[in-house]
């Protein structure tokens, strides 16, 4: 699975095996083309159950449907929104096309789906809180 082979080896082999087992198989194997444009629609939509949790990603309208950030709004996921069990996970696209989320902010991964999976790993079953958190 190219999707898995490209993931940075941050998790153990066992966790990766669990990932493969938990993935529904509906997941498309191809992913975003890494560009520096940050344009909307640069990553593919996904919807799967990963480690028992539903993760979804899709192009979003962008344009500040939430008030997060010190600049008073704006969606910073490059026009892409990610959800864990229906709660939006704040994601961000880096200049090199890699992605991070507020749950693992210092550790870029290749795709929004990988960011969603990393968040599920990190959450260990805990619920995500809607952002902004305050």
């Amino acid at each position: 699975m190219p999707e898995l082979s490209r993931r940075r080896a941050l998790t153990t082999a066992a966790a990766l095996a669990a990932t493969a087992a938990a993935t529904t198989g509906a997941a498309s194997a191809h992913s975003s083309t890494a560009t520096a444009s940050g344009s909307a629609g640069s990553a593919d939509a996904f919807d799967e159950v990963y480690k028992g949790r539903r993760i979804q990603g899709r192009p979003s309208s962008g344009g500040g449907h939430h008030g997060g950030g010190h600049q008073g709004g704006g969606h910073h996921g490059g026009g892409f929104a990610v959800y864990v069990d229906g709660v939006e996970l704040h994601v961000m696209r880096n200049a090199d096309g890699s992605w991070i989320s507020v749950i693992s902010h210092y550790d870029p991964v290749p795709t929004p789906r990988a960011a969603a999976r990393a968040a599920v790993d990190e959450l260990q079953g805990a619920r995500l809180l809607p952002f902004p958190t305050n």
Partner: protein
Amino acid sequence: MTVRKNQASLTADEKRRFVAAVLELKRNGRYDAFVTTHNAFIVGDTDNGERTGHRSPSFLPWHRRFLLEFERALQSVDASVALPYWDWSVDRSPRSSLWAPDFLGGTGRARDGRVSDGPFAAAGGNWPIGVRVDGRTFLRRALGAGVRELPTRAEVDSVLAMPTYDMAPWNSGSDGFRNHLEGWRGVNLHNRVHVWVGGQMATGVSPNDPVFWLHHAYIDKLWAEWQRRHPEAGYLPAAGAPDVVDLHETMKPWNDTAPADLLDHTPHYTFDTA
């Protein structure tokens, strides 16, 4: 004058006073305001938009000012306290005295990452995680789990050798000292340490772990070391770069200080060693 010391050389009394001052800021609510500010910038700073606290040239002066604010808050509780720094290239093991129960406490337990010793363990009742991105209200760590090794001194030296402070496009894709120190590119220093600690330190609300301050105090010291190695090199961009803080532009959220005002740390504090 404030002297920032290596955490490994603090006396028992210095550790006790630092911890007590941090706990008092938590108790009176001032601590969590720092967490909130940091997370707001983390989610707001973007490579293709306005960026101030991270992924930009002002990463270093912004955190210098942020740490100064925190240090002044600590000193309002106990005037003898200074921020210690953690040289993770030397104290690179979960067995370091930094993680002992008389200072920051150790790593989290396997099941849920919960830190269960030290003054910041949830069981002590003194360290509720109030500003958070998920439902968990206890301090978590997974030392060495997200990435096996902390940076080495040789890796630090390779970054300190870089002669240019920062380069266009002034973001996570940049070449130069700042971005290599921040870690979006190259051997990865600052970012990797956040990942190595794990728990809240790996998230946007990383100041929930008091080690945040010791990590950034060392990043700040590395900036000072870089300046001494490259006295001819200065902060860049000097002027005219959109979305990033130029040398003489003021920084949010304070709006009263520019990078130019923060290049010299010595009016505010010195270090125990050069």
